[in-house]
Symmetry: D2
Subunit: 345 residues, 4 copies
């Protein structure tokens, strides 16, 4: 039986020395059936900047991303997440992780990098999400009109639209949270910061993991519809809660659907707003949360009662938040969605 307090199974052996080989989430590829409209959304509404356009793809960045590009929009028949790229902490760290991934049998081999990112080693998580680890990166140098007055800021804050600063994290659905969570801990050295476990801790509903002191850069949450490799949301950072409120005003003026928020999660303490980009993917405008400074942080585990609706101040996340993900798939026929992530009161 699971150890509720620690959120880890006693039979799991984690290395006594932390693996600190992954630096951060470096890049996310989103698939979109409406490339033009998705580009408008991220550029004109969210205020990101286009750095490159290739056949069937647009590469964007937030004003605070140090890499050339943190987001790639790729034309595809259905929405969803393409490749998720993690930057290693050093060349040696990259070599160590590649070796571990090869041993784990999930490797797909090296591919050539693009738009500033060097060669990457492709692999899949147990649920089938495509991932990549890389080290080489050519930092962004802003062209003159986009050069910031701040020498330590990679690009000017243009004041256009929402003004996304940088890529923050993503949430992935999966059929087996424990398997995917363990994979990230064991093969990539991620730290487990929070969990939702139901039924006296025996059913792992969701896990929030990070390669650093950031609260989370990936969350695995159970897919109530038993799909594979689906995306719940990608989250983009703004600096203040007030920026999230302002984003809500801007999205509303564009008549873009806001699914939930602005409000505050209880787990992660994130201040959120969820919206769908025109291609169908859920996007979170995100701020707040907290840094996990403790190197021996014991995962915070929420049970059914503590979890409540997932909203700190009251209210609830809507039904769609539990069931909709990209690509969208129909509900299971035999029974109602059997694992309610939250109580959508």
């Amino acid at each position: 039986m699971a150890d509720e307090r620690h959120g880890t199974d006693p039979d799991e052996t984690l290395p006594s020395e932390p693996i600190l080989d992954v630096a951060h989430l470096g890049h996310v590829e989103l698939l979109t059936p409406r490339l033009e409209q998705s580009t408008w959304y991220f550029r004109d509404v969210l205020g990101m900047e286009i750095v490159a356009e290739t056949a069937g793809a647009v590469h964007l960045r937030g004003y605070g991303d140090y890499a050339m590009s943190s987001l790639k929009l790729t034309a595809a028949p259905k929405p969803g997440v393409g490749c998720i790229a993690w930057r290693a902490a050093s060349p040696a760290a990259l070599a160590r992780r590649v070796a571990a991934l090869e041993r784990a049998g999930c490797a797909e081999g090296w591919i050539a990098g693009e738009v500033g990112r060097g060669d990457g080693f492709r692999f899949r998580d147990p649920d089938g999400h495509r991932m990549e680890i890389y080290y080489d990166e050519t930092p962004y140098r802003a062209p003159e009109p986009l050069r910031s007055a701040l020498k330590n800021q990679p690009m000017r804050y243009t004041g256009r639209g929402v003004g996304v600063r940088r890529l923050d994290h993503l949430a992935l659905l999966c059929r087996d949270v424990a398997a995917n969570r363990r994979f990230m801990q064991q093969e990539l050295g991620f730290r487990l910061h929070e969990q939702v476990r139901f039924q006296r801790g025996t059913v792992e509903i969701g896990s929030w993991l990070s390669p650093s002191i950031l609260h989370h850069q990936v969350a695995y949450v159970v897919d109530a519809r038993r799909g594979a490799g689906r995306l719940h949301h990608v989250a983009l950072w703004v600096d203040n809660r007030e920026d999230v409120l302002r984003a809500a005003d801007i999205l509303s003026e564009h008549e873009i659907f806001i699914e939930a928020g602005p409000a505050k999660h209880n787990n992660s303490q994130g201040f959120y707003l969820y919206t769908y980009e025109p291609g169908g993917n859920r996007v979170e405008i995100y701020s707040g949360s907290f840094l996990v400074l403790a190197p021996d942080w014991q995962p915070v585990v929420w049970n059914e009662v503590e979890r409540g609706t997932g909203v700190y101040w009251g209210g609830a996340l809507p039904e769609s938040f539990m069931t909709y993900a990209t690509p969208d798939i129909p509900a299971l026929r035999a029974a109602p969605d059997p694992v309610p992530l939250f109580d959508p009161r």
Copy 2:
């Protein structure tokens, strides 16, 4: 001698019944020697909207102004303020004020309105600033692309640049504060909300007046250089202090000089940022302050010590804040500026 506590001279007789004939500051005309650059500043940087362009003039509005236009930029050899227009509370109120102004001997007669504003009655304050009172106004109807998702908002919040909501107030320099202040009280019914008086209350340095519960819509401050009809600044409203901070980031990225702030005044409690538009006029991005709900509010009077530097949290306004106004004029030769408005420590 002045009654320090009340901030009014005992020999002044104010009407026992308040005059409530002026509704609000409706429109300000700024003169600019660099019309094109000034237009860029107000439209692209501050996020105002152009509603009309005529020969040598551009008419703009904030997204929350109910009138068609609240700001007119007029090409001129030197910067400064053109006409300052006050909206009357009713046709009868307009008639009463016109009669009073004619009696006071400062009337200049009727002129045709423009851009939604009906005919106005022109006059001058004792210091020579050109003013106008009017009642007729055609409310703004936004064209389709600028229509707001909010039925009670005249225009969409576009999310461009600073995002000025509306015209708020202006500050005028003058040679005799008491004379101008009395004029606004007696002829237009303005309420006196705050004052700075030095030398045991005998020297009136500045007065903050309003036709409504807004803290002030006009301030008269002594002109240290003894000019006539000069403008200290025009203030544009944003809803939150955070918007003023964000304005500072946007102005800095455009390498537009910020003279002072963001910070908080002690008098008015306004949260301010001062900058110069390309034509040379000082512009304040403004929020905070407080409403004066008391109909019998006793003016708050600040002496030298209480006034301090005029900045609530410490620090000081720069020297230029005391001496620069538009049109700019040289310092008096005979002596240093004799009336320091603040101590620019």
Copy 3:
């Protein structure tokens, strides 16, 4: 049939000259069956200050209220609103309104003032809410430990709890919105700023009124349970949206129920949070909204579709928001609540 655009019935004759005799909402009395806990809530959690305690009553103030007291808590068997007091603009204004109220047949006569407020003239609105109009008021002088560093602030900002600045408005339920709305317009000179009208404008669901440029100081909303003289909520002002978010954190830490928000209304654009004080009355922590500067403002009228859920950014107000008021009464038996104020999706 009602004139949808103007929100007023064509057969209603409003005076051509505005009546500007009421200055503002001066004081609200709340009835509470749990005086001690209600006092804790307003003092320790919301950060208001106790100025006087009498048998069965506690008098409080926000740090920005210029009057001695703006809120009275009175022990009573059931929660609800006691007397609602409006301050007149002048002695003559008071006399005019008293005469009008006497003519209207709703007068209850003069009563002695208390805690700084002078004698008041009592009356009832058509729905039976007890009201009062008064002029004399002794401004608050803070005792030494509560004196503010700001000469224009009546009391120090103590930094305790939510830090309510001042009384803002209240919302009253009633059986006949039009009758109560007309009463406030005709007898007290209130301006009608917004309305919700259903069924092609024939059913007046709610009206938002103000004696000044404040968006509203009283709202009348139809009582779905057909009670009399009930209170929907009293609203207390904080200066920034961020203060409302912070209030949500503080209330949550005290495990005080937050019924809705923080979020933004479409009508009024108010940024709100609704909570219940321990006595059962609904309290709104409120900021944002907008000033109605136009003296000839045409009421904004929302129909069923435009009204939506009443929440600008999406989501909905909960069922209780439509049905719960103080004192609480059972739902009508014959039929479900027949007049849904909003669609609580």
Copy 4:
């Protein structure tokens, strides 16, 4: 000559693999000649919580610190910084650092921990500041009245005063910035994120370092008065810029001197406010800044012109900011302060 772009001397050999052995700044001891008043300041004004009191010392924490205590106030004849404690990333990491420090010849040996912190290994930086590295830590368990409604928050957010969340960083003065900076890099594995270098990069004025993706947890700045082991400031974190503004209001109401801010630094992009606690030590209320995610971040180096006044939006830091530190010492007699850190225009 220094390599301006990289901010590191070419003759310095840093290890090719990063040392990731220090997790974060865990604890700071402040010396104060006015223990009682300092305690009032941190507890009642800044809103920290007392967790233990011993003879001549008070131990405090922010509501978000996971450790029992992050700040110790120790009675002493003069203000200044006592011991600065860094938490290691693991027991093995601690052992590695202890060995390195012993090799470096700056070790002072083990001392017993206190208030939840395990045994620590004492050492001194080249300038003589006393430091400690430790690993064992008993996480804080809040007593019932201080338990948070948020399971992932160590302690309730009480809403008292400024509401400091956690310890963030400190700035130390020293005679030789390069020596101290190199020491932190080589012996403790700190990353160098920003620098100020004057005279074509040959004079290192200040360096900002961090053991993690936090922008900085220690800054070394040249001591213009050639003192030893002095403290410039300790910084305490609040979550939003608005909290810093609110802190300024609270400090002002307590008539506590604000030396500078609220404003925004150019280097670090920190949103700051500087004040002195009653014992004389400078305290920063801090938010904003940015995370340094790049594992190969090239230090940003500011020269005289780029550095300007150190204030992003304009204005300047006051003279005292350059000269005052604790313990205070007189200015050098022979010459004016020879190394101006900033231009205090």
